[in-house]
């Protein structure tokens, strides 16, 4: 096997190193810490020419990151979960400054109750912040996506920051072979960052993110951010082509897996998509015509690619590894919205909620999804949101409640 064994976290750190970033403001949080530790070590040893600075919080970290990017520096930083939420206020400012830094988020479910393992309520909370979002399935994709993220972010047609997301534990601490891109080829892929609207020059001061205090300029500038984000679809395509040419690996905004002739399609994101693909293989072996659509780019929302992949299917199941209380799965809503005007829209849309707090996604659960989705396709009636949660798990839960409350069982 080519490459070397590497965790998702180390792959993320290598992404920043190969991108030759200038500045890394950092604050540690499980399960992201290994990223900033690796970068700290490399900056200390001189392997990286970047300035590494520890800040007092993620809020300060994002402020420093945005401010540095506003001076024209190439900036990398990383966080997770509560840290991302603590930085959230600043995300909106940084994107408004059109400061194209790259932020890696290592997904971890949000408190309370507190946990360390992943789901995507953290990164999806930043969905409307103006940061673009790329969600990775493998450690290789983490590294490659960071390089692509800089190329897309720094394009004059975009100039928006990007979040590259990887799952805590399932990628962050998981080693698998990663092929290291050649640094000279990375230089070809990523030209030096020379933004026209950013920079620091004492003799030519400028103000960013100024007060407008009237709806008209505010509307205009926010809409410009929308247009910039939408431009990222084309820019991503160009970046993907250039990346493939140099490195031989291809990433599109969505990835179809065994979609040809598939009647029913399961939509997933992030690391668990690997398990979804395995389940597709099992079902295919049994003669079931199923496939998988993995969403890689969440912002901008690749509506056309999704429509193209899902039109004419019998049924579509969306597995959300997140839960919006009082609503359901977040991505399900967006999938449903973009299929509404499709004349060949699937007969049934099914919403499943699974993997919350890193809860394992079992083969049995995936079988249940395919089974219920097929039934929904036949009946023409959508279902959900359905929580992936079993009888045996519930017995465990009851036992914990008894212990926690000092109750008699």
């Amino acid at each position: 096997m080519e490459g070397e064994m590497m965790t998702g976290n180390l792959a993320a750190a290598w992404g920043a190193r190969l991108a030759d970033v200038d500045y890394v403001p950092a604050f540690p949080i499980t399960p992201q810490t290994e990223i900033v530790e690796a970068l700290a070590k490399w900056c200390e040893s001189g392997a990286m020419a970047a300035r590494f600075v520890t800040l007092d919080s993620e809020h300060s970290m994002m402020t420093a990151a945005g401010a540095a990017a506003a001076t024209g520096a190439r900036v990398f930083t990383a966080t997770s979960s509560q840290g991302l939420l603590y930085a959230l206020e600043v995300l909106y400012s940084v994107s408004g400054w059109r400061a194209p830094l790259v932020l890696v988020n290592v997904s971890r479910a949000l408190a309370a109750p507190i946990t360390l393992e992943p789901d995507h309520n953290d990164v999806l909370a930043a969905r409307d912040s103006g940061f673009l979002q790329i969600h990775a399935e493998t450690c290789q994709e983490v590294l490659d996506s960071i390089l692509m993220a800089y190329r897309i972010a720094e394009d004059e047609r975009v100039m928006l920051p990007v979040i590259v997301n990887l799952d805590g534990f399932y990628l962050s601490f998981t080693r698998e072979p990663v092929i290291m891109p050649d640094p000279d080829q990375v230089k070809l892929f990523l030209p030096p960052f020379r933004p026209a609207h950013l920079g620091f020059k004492a003799s030519a001061p400028h103000a960013l993110g100024v007060a407008v205090l009237s709806g008209t300029p505010y509307s205009y500038f926010r809409h410009q951010m929308h247009l910039a984000a939408m431009n990222a679809l084309d820019v991503h395509r160009e970046a993907a082509a250039a990346f493939e040419q140099l490195f031989g690996r291809r990433y599109d905004v969505v990835e179809g897996y065994r979609l040809d002739d598939a009647e029913d399609v399961l939509v997933m994101t992030n690391a668990f998509a690997s398990k979804g693909k395995a389940a597709v293989d099992v079902a295919r072996a049994e003669g079931k015509r199923v496939g998988l659509l993995r969403l890689r780019m969440i912002r901008p929302w690749p509506a056309d690619a999704i429509r193209q992949a899902l039109q004419g299917r019998r049924a579509v199941a969306v597995l959300d590894q997140n839960l919006s209380p009082g609503q359901g799965g977040i991505l399900f809503q967006e999938i449903a919205a973009c299929l509404y005007h499709e004349s060949l829209r699937p007969r049934a849309l099914c919403s499943f909620i699974g993997g919350l707090g890193g809860k394992n996604l079992s083969e049995g659960e995936l079988r249940a999804i395919f089974e219920q989705t097929a039934e929904a396709g036949l009946s023409g009636k959508g279902i959900g949101p359905i929580l992936l949660y079993t009888e045996a798990e519930h017995r465990e839960m009851v036992q914990l409640q008894v212990l926690a409350g000092g109750l008699k069982s």
Binding site: W97, A207, L208, L227, N231
Partner: protein
């Protein structure tokens, strides 16, 4: 519906006036709605406030685009495009201006459209209160009279709103007395009750993407406060006493608005068009070479030049 728009400068009481009018209407059993709009600014900056009065629930919010009555607390605002005093005023609009001029004189001077009436509230306030402070009760009473509200409800509304602001009973009483004098004194103009043509649908335009040098909320030009001549906000102006200036540049360094420039021989020059009159330079000057002089209403500063 009666739609009344108040224009004033921060500190004059335009917002409280809109509340006095709203409360007075409410007391009389009308449905009322009042709201202010202002920026992150301060005393002297243009503010606007809105009161709507109706007999049925009001299905409107915020800015009044087509006012039936406009109450202008400070005549200098008419010439300030940033204050947008003239927006939506036509020949049918009733307009009250706080001015020593008669309606005819004022109209001749400013060619303000509308059915004009004036009264020198500032002078009345100076004579009755001995100082030029907020004239909210006076503005509220005048507006109340012009839209046809009763004396008693205006009197009661003034009491409620000024008590809400923490004014002592004697001060409230004085305000009521003077305000009701204005209520009687103001020359009535008819308020149009005719209905307006429904608006035509606007032509929507989707902006195209522009490079971030233009498409980002970014300012790189110096001296860009052209649409907003903030000099009109001043109550006091800093004035240089050249003999005392030691050329230390401290006023230049401390000016938060960058309106002080320095000559070749180290003397400050103040851009009065934009100086907001914060007096920080006066405070910081180590040789008392900058002194604060009171601006006079109708004087140069009030026209921002």
């Amino acid at each position: 519906m009666r739609a009344v728009r108040f224009h004033g400068r921060g500190g004059q009481g335009a917002k409280t006036a809109s509340r006095i009018l709203g409360t007075a209407a409410f007391i009389e059993g009308f449905v009322a709605q009042d709201s202010p709009i202002y920026g992150a600014e301060r005393r002297g900056a243009p503010v606007a406030a809105f009161t709507r009065i109706d007999t049925v629930p009001i299905k409107q919010r915020g800015v009044i685009v087509h006012p039936d009555l406009v109450v202008i607390a400070d005549a200098s605002l008419v010439g300030d495009p940033a204050a947008r005093v003239l927006d939506g005023i036509d020949d049918r609009t009733a307009v009250f201006v706080n001015s020593p001029l008669t309606a005819e004189q004022f109209q001749a001077q400013t060619s303000l459209p509308g059915r004009l009436t004036t009264l020198d509230l500032t002078d009345i306030a100076l004579q009755q209160f001995g100082k030029r402070g907020a004239i909210s009760a006076l503005l509220g009473a005048v507006a109340g009279r012009l839209v046809g509200l009763r004396r008693d409800s205006v009197r009661e509304a003034i009491a409620r709103e000024l008590a809400d602001l923490g004014l002592a009973a004697p001060a409230i009483k004085r305000n009521q007395t003077v305000a009701l004098q204005c209520y009687e004194a103001v020359q009535m103009v008819p308020i149009d009750t005719g209905s307006r043509e429904p608006a035509a649908p606007v032509q929507l335009r989707t902006p195209a993407y522009e490079p971030p040098t233009r498409g980002t909320a970014r300012i790189s030009a110096a001296g860009n406060s052209i649409l907003r001549e903030t000099g009109g906000w001043r109550t006091f102006r800093p004035v240089l006493v050249p003999d005392k200036c030691n050329g230390c540049w401290l006023c230049f360094a401390y000016c938060p608005d960058g309106v002080i420039s320095m000559t070749k021989d180290d003397r400050p020059v103040i851009d009065y068009t934009h100086c907001k009159g914060c007096q920080i330079c006066v405070h910081e000057c180590p040789t008392e070479a900058l002194v604060a002089e009171r601006e006079k209403e109708g004087g140069v500063a009030w026209k921002a030049k």
